[in-house]
Chain length 276, copies 2
């Protein structure tokens, strides 16, 4: 059984979830609600002093859970792969400045080459960034993405693959993000979550819901309880590994982004307590 | 290596691929092109005498490869599940009348219950139809669907799951359809195709391509060569099992359905020979 959620201390909201709000406004609103954590998307930091922004978040009693996102390692040319690595080194610097303990990786896929080749380039890319991550004290967190993104966003599409990769990299600076949106359908999910926890690779837990029908492959995620994901069951599997981190609400939604964000945040809080 | 395709004898086209054409016109066009097979969607038979339509297809030297589709077994009430079984018995009768050796199953999923429950209802539903299928000499062919359809179209989302289910049902009247659109991303695909062949369950092979970006989750499939699927490699795995059946072109596409179907059929033939 999943732990009963009676307050918002372990709730973390991604800045992209309330995208219309500048990060300062989002942070004030999250903080005033008693929400415990914030995950920062890099676009939210545009034009800001990153270190000062991190301090602002902490002054508001928000734990900075992670920086989203690095990755996109595969590319058809060595030059483009090197550029990707450099962007990831920059993301590590940003995470260090912000005080975020990890960078979440959307690993990437290059349509012009095989998934096998893309997976190899992902693993090589992460390995190339590891010394810098270690020096910065920042973890690189592999997020397996739904198979519908295998064409161009990630060649890592199951938790089994992420486990394989994390175990091959075998570093305390590599972790895995379990996102229910990407993984809920997988018949091996319980087993692979156990494996992920046992190897100390379970670093983050992202929640939302899968709507039927889904109107947009990227930006039509549902609020918890709106869809068909067995969220409490998956959370119980995550907690059984000993995971005590945040439940991170990551919702991309053209529908919710058009609504009043104060009302949306109230819905998130209610859905979190009732359906997560 | 996949066998070199030098003619259209092993090409089968689904009636839904050229949906704007009535089945009679599609059949004449396929036949005039030297295409060897046709898979009939049930909607194409509306208002027809099914037995006579089957004779017409054979008179045009088309092999009737399969009838699409049965399935959709899961439902929240026993009454609805019984209705689904009755519809599948009807599909078996239609396949027998048409002279189609199999009914392809889109297995179904009911959003209001767990995938585990839906999978159990699928297996029970197929089992309930098996005596009728055996009497009719018709095979029930499980088609695992892409995980993006797990919400409402199929709780069977990998070839491993289809293999598990077919082996549990353990009947000469159960088979599996391998569709590259649904399965191309799966890192276990080669292994699972081998397993499927070894157990004599590989009954059908469906081809098309995955476009990036994909504009519609149902109706934006690509022509072979337009996307990122490693089609020749997957076909080589299928052929290595000893499979000698048809390469079935199944494309749902709002874009192609709006075009001149004669020109589209020329594109299918060219893409088949060059990219399949």
């Amino acid at each position: 059984m999943a732990q009963v959620l009676t307050d918002l201390k372990r709730l973390c909201v991604h800045t992209i979830t309330t995208k219309p709000w500048p990060i300062e406004e989002a942070a004030r609103e999250f903080s005033a609600s008693g929400i415990g954590g914030i995950t920062v998307w890099r676009d939210a930091l545009t034009g800001r002093n990153i270190k000062q922004t991190g301090n602002l978040l902490r002054d508001l009693n928000l734990e900075v859970v992670s920086l989203c996102r690095g990755g996109f390692f595969p590319a058809l040319t060595p030059g483009a792969r090197q550029s990707a690595i450099e962007d990831n080194l920059k993301a590590i610097d940003e995470a260090e400045a912000l005080g975020a303990p990890m960078v979440v990786l959307v690993c990437g896929a290059a349509p012009g080459q095989s998934l096998f080749e893309s997976r190899k380039q992902i693993q090589d890319g992460i390995a190339a960034c590891l010394p810098h991550a270690a020096a910065a004290g920042v973890k690189l967190t592999i997020e397996p993405l739904h198979p519908m993104y295998a064409g161009d966003r990630s060649a890592v599409n199951t938790l089994a693959q992420a486990n394989d990769m994390a175990e091959a990299l075998n570093s305390p600076h590599v972790g895995i993000a379990v996102d229910v949106y990407h993984l809920w359908w997988d018949p091996d999910l319980e087993t692979q979550i156990q494996r992920c926890g046992k190897n100390n690779n379970l670093s983050a837990f992202h929640i939302c819901d899968w709507k039927t029908p889904t109107l947009d492959m990227l930006n039509d995620r549902g609020l918890m309880g709106e869809g068909c994901i067995n969220l409490k069951q998956i959370r119980s599997w995550v907690e059984e590994t000993g995971f005590t981190g945040f439940n991170e609400v990551e919702i991309f939604s053209n529908i919710y982004w058009q609504q009043d964000q104060h009302q949306f945040l109230e819905k998130i809080k209610a859905a979190y307590l009732q359906f997560s």
